[in-house]
């Protein structure tokens, strides 16, 4: 008998559509007003972009296996958001240098993570956790809790406002970005090697993959993507605050898991992560719209996550 299987990204997208449709039935939902529905859908997509970009780095790190995870992502987002904010300082001409700086800072921190993990054999979880403390500490030292700067008009225009046909620039950037991620993961040697080291590091090494270089590159790239996430996040909010990045940390891992990427590595896709980011953002905004108290919201989120991963996050049984 053939079992009906449904791939996790598709399941997540279906779930998102169902959730969204149900949200219309709420007392303060969009009801039958299609214009409002469209606006809401676009807005939720736009909010998903930031989580989606930050979770991209997380996806790469998790696919690389050996308990790969990046707990420094939140701190890196905060740091790079501050870097962007201070460097741009309201000046359109300095947006591009600031973008490069944000990506470079993120990559540097990722490289330190990778060094500790591959050369000093520190487990990724604690290494990145430690780095997140170090980065948070650096932010406090340099900024003493207050920053002066501003985003520039062009950032707000491109990231936060509708660009073409009422579609916000952030979504267009995301689509473009997703294409690049697909190319990177499916059409390059880096991508092939990434899945190879995620499946089995020993066989990968024996087949001529430079595992150390791959791990370094993966963590550096993940840091760079968090840097990009920080740049986009501050472009969206327009102001920077010390807690801008942390709320993204665990959702970025959850988005990867909901998207069907194995947390043990070697299997997954960025499409899944995108779908996961949309589902999580939708869920959060839905619970906010329903005006639930924080406590109930937290419980519902936890329970939903548990149900979601119960459906397709199950690992193989020991008995084969």
């Amino acid at each position: 008998m053939k079992r009906i299987t449904i791939s996790p990204p598709v399941a997540a997208v279906l779930l998102a559509i169902i959730l969204f449709a149900l949200s219309g039935l709420l007392p303060n939902g969009f009801g039958s007003n299609m214009l409002v529905a469209r606006a809401q859908a676009v807005n939720i997509l736009r909010l998903s972009v930031f989580l989606g970009v930050i979770a991209a780095g997380q996806t790469l790190v998790i696919i690389s296996g050996s308990e790969g995870i990046d707990l420094s992502a939140g701190a890196v987002v905060t740091l790079t958001a501050i870097v962007t904010y201070v460097l741009v300082n309201g000046n359109d001409g300095r947006v591009l240098p600031a973008l490069f700086a944000a990506i470079l800072v993120g990559a540097a921190i990722g490289l330190v993570n990778g060094t500790g993990i591959s050369f000093l054999k520190i487990s990724p979880l604690v290494m990145t956790l430690g780095m997140s403390g170090v980065v948070t500490g650096m932010i406090l030292i340099v900024q003493h809790g207050n920053v002066s700067g501003a985003v520039s008009p062009i950032m707000t225009k491109v990231i936060a406002r509708p660009l073409i046909f009422g579609i916000p620039g952030a979504i267009i950037i995301w689509v473009f970005f997703a294409g690049l991620m697909w190319l990177l993961m499916e059409r390059t040697a880096f991508g092939k090697n990434l899945f190879a080291i995620g499946t089995n590091r020993v066989t990968a090494r024996l087949s001529g993959v430079n595992v150390t270089a791959m791990v370094l590159a993966t963590y550096a790239l993940a840091g760079a993507l968090s840097g990009l996430g920080g740049f986009l996040a501050v472009g969206n909010t327009g102001v920077v605050f010390i807690n801008i990045g942390n709320p993204f940390l665990f959702p970025s891992i959850a988005a990867v898991a909901v998207g069907g990427t194995l947390l043990s590595g070697g299997k997954g896709s960025y499409w899944g992560t995108m779908a996961g980011a949309i589902v999580l953002t939708l869920l959060t905004s839905l619970l906010t719209t329903m005006q639930m108290p924080d406590s109930v919201r937290s419980m519902v989120l936890g329970a939903t996550l548990l149900i979601l991963i119960s459906i397709y996050g199950r690992q193989q049984a020991l008995r084969q």
Binding site: L120, G130, G133, I253, L263, A303, L306, I309, R314, R319
Partner: protein, 321 residues
């Protein structure tokens, strides 16, 4: 010592680096806080460290069994708010004892939920306990939306001032847990635990009840989290739904500094307790060394990273030779 002997030696003595680190950190602490070994100071320190020590001991069991539990902090919060709301500042001792028994059950039940999903539903531990941490944190916030409540004065002063035989109360609790752990290690269960953490499928093929063992580690962690919650409540003698939040990641760090590998199978409870003491002493050093407030987070994290890196650096040099 050749490479192989060295590997065997470090494998048989997973506490080696953490003990070394403990000595170094203690010496530094002695330098900035000369009265460190005074009886009152030890008691002061140990009662502040105890909650994390207990939590790390529970976390160590889970990690030893090849899992991870990032919901333990939220279990601490639940226990804290239950005690603070149900007993109250004016509550009578009987009620406190009753509720202490009750929260132990709550902790084990929370652990059992984690264990059920991880061991029997075969979900990935980190994401499962992340999800349940939301459940538990939400429940804690539901029970006590605003910080408040409390426990009878007599219990907090008991926790603060009890020094049987002139030694801090914490020493006796730690000794009890180490004894219990020593006993567990002698039993078949202890060997099963290392086997499951080391290689679950090999353990399965040698007829080890893998799922039951995994399940039990989460229940043990829940129980230890409840004990930790009781200790925290007696320490701060008030309720706050975010009490345990920052304890989760510290407990994992303590376990790793204590020589337990996150991939499971190697390490133990004693190392995790040493790790928790080390983390506490680092905080101590920072507050006594007159470090600028803005630098404290950074120095704390940097010391931890260096401590984590030390064994790796030593091994790196040994491999080069």
């Amino acid at each position: 010592m050749n490479k192989h002997q060295w590997q065997t030696f470090t494998l048989h003595n997973p506490y080696l680096f953490s003990l070394l680190l403990l000595v170094i950190i203690t010496l530094v602490n002695l330098f900035v806080q000369p009265d460190m070994f005074h009886r009152d100071t030890i008691n002061n320190n140990m009662r502040v460290f105890l909650p994390l020590i207990l939590l790390a001991a529970g976390e160590a069991v889970v990690i030893l069994g090849g899992g991870i539990d990032i919901s333990v902090g939220s279990i601490v919060s639940i226990v804290n708010v239950i005690l603070a709301t149900q007993v109250g500042l004016q509550g009578n001792p009987q009620k406190m004892y009753l509720m202490m028994g009750f929260v132990l059950l709550v902790g084990m039940a929370a652990g059992a939920i984690n264990g059920f999903f991880v061991a029997y539903m075969r979900l990935q531990p980190i994401i499962t306990t992340y999800a349940t941490s939301f459940l538990y944190a939400g429940l804690a916030l539901f029970i006590l939306p605003n910080p408040g409540g409390g426990i009878p004065q007599s219990f907090s002063s008991f926790y603060r001032d009890t020094t049987p035989l002139g030694l801090p109360l914490a020493f006796f609790i730690i000794a009890l847990i180490l004894l219990a752990w020593g006993f567990v290690q002698q039993t078949r269960y202890g060997r099963y635990l290392s086997a499951v953490g080391g290689k679950a499928d090999a353990a399965y093929e040698t007829a080890v009840p893998v799922s039951a063992i995994q399940f039990s580690t989460y229940v043990a962690a829940g129980l230890m989290a409840a004990l930790s919650g009781i200790a925290v409540t007696m320490l701060v003698s008030s309720g706050n739904s975010t009490t345990g939040d920052q304890l989760t990641l510290s407990s994992i760090t303590a376990v790793v500094i204590g020589g337990t590998t996150l991939s499971g199978g190697v390490g133990g409870v004693a190392g995790a307790m040493i790790g928790a003491v080390i983390l506490g002493l680092i905080k101590n050093i920072i507050s006594f060394a007159n470090i600028d407030t803005w630098w404290q987070t950074f120095v704390n994290a940097a010391i931890i990273v260096v401590a984590l890196a030390a064994p790796g650096v030593i091994n790196l040099f040994r491999r080069k030779r």
